[in-house]
Amino acid sequence: MDIAFIIEKLILISAILGISLVIAMYTTLAERKFAGFFQDRVGPNRAGPWGLLQPLADGVKLFTKEEIIPTHASTFLFVLGPSLSMFTACITTAVIPWGQDLFLFGRQISLQVADINVGVLYVFGVVSLGVYGVMIGGWASNNKFSLLAAVRSASQNISYEIAMGLSIIALLMMTGTLSLREISEQQSGMNWNVFYQPLGFLIFMICSFAETNRTPFDLPECETELVGGHHTEYSSMKLGFYLFAEYINMFVSSAIMASLYFGGYNYPFMHLISNPNIAALIGVAVFFTKILLFIFFFIWVRWTVPRFRYDQLMKLGWKVLIPLAIVNIALTGTGILIFGK
């Protein structure tokens, strides 16, 4: 373990953390802007040119608000909830391959914090941890609405994780690896997995919407029934963390969808660029474009589709997506048997 390696990883980690925070910050603005556009409005435009400083203003506002911890709440868990949400949202980025290796100062620098061979499993582990933030927060608030939201989000996440895992299995049967880097590398050029696994991708995407608590599956914070849902009792930056974690989750799941199904950092005619550094940098840009497109899609869907009823949600998860995912596995297996990929 040499010093250069540690420095290289530290820089990479800070850069990724910084980028994901900034992107999440500006996703909040994009969400409000685009919401305006979809509804023939202009969205926030007062803070800075075109409202570009709005996220800063929101941040300052949230930080300076009064911090309220209800008397009957369990203080430790009450604080733990949003922290856990934020923490789990941030650590998933560790296994995402952001680009091909760079060759700088005579070193081969990998643009991935940790290339663990069970990357997909790690992502799943962290995603299922994510629900604890909402659950603990909702439980600790000592408020019936928060508790209901916590119960809802727990059962929702568990239901959709199954379908998500099953849809991934079909993908793993094709790729034969759990490492996100290898999966990305296999999709070089236009050899993207989505063309072989359209059904799997659809299931995975629907489940990602459910896992990130986005509309049409945002039942844990369903205002019409549950006041504010799990963050009813939260104020100040603790509320901010919950809201912010949602946007980081959105970023992360976009990144995962892009790298699993949409070729990650690969783009057509990549092999024609002789300089590996330039090819890699273009790859990073392409990857981020894909991520931003997915984020846009998340926002687009949010301002189009109304929320599901809770029983519809459960029915969709258990009676539609899980059987579909199993059918998809069978289809993939048959395909592999016949075409031998």
């Binding site: 556009f37 979809f38 509804q39 202009v42 687009w300 869907v301 301002w303 189009t304 589709v305």
Partner: protein, 164 residues
Amino acid sequence: MNSLTNRKKVLESKQMNFWERIYLPAIINGLSITMKHFFKKRTTVYYPEEKRSFSENFRGLHSLKRDENGAERCTACGLCALSCPAEAITMTAAERKPGEEHLYREEKYASVYEINMLRCIFCGFCEEACPKAAIYLDGDIAKAGYIRDEFIFGKDKLTEPVIK
């Protein structure tokens, strides 16, 4: 049973067909509709920078008019206050001193004239009641404020500036 009106509509709840039940066509349709709106021209008027023109009979803030010599027309008859349904107008009358003919047109004038803009409903009855054509609601929209006192408009705010 016959319905009393012929507007009765019998609703039948149909079973959703296959395409409706998988939601996706409906969702894609919805997405295309919202996308159309995304690129539509916005109708927003950027208010403080950009103002829509008022209609001809718009009733805005009041102004106390002057006659062609620059003297105040109001004679403190109190008809406006009497006709005001919101009781927003109060005034104190005073007698014109010799040598003030250029300031006040009539022998009696309003030394204090106040309209409480929080009470006023901008009905325009004061304008209609005035026998001297002294008050018109031809101003701008009433401004917002933080203190109630700011909304009591005295003569300093109401009287038209002298045209030189």
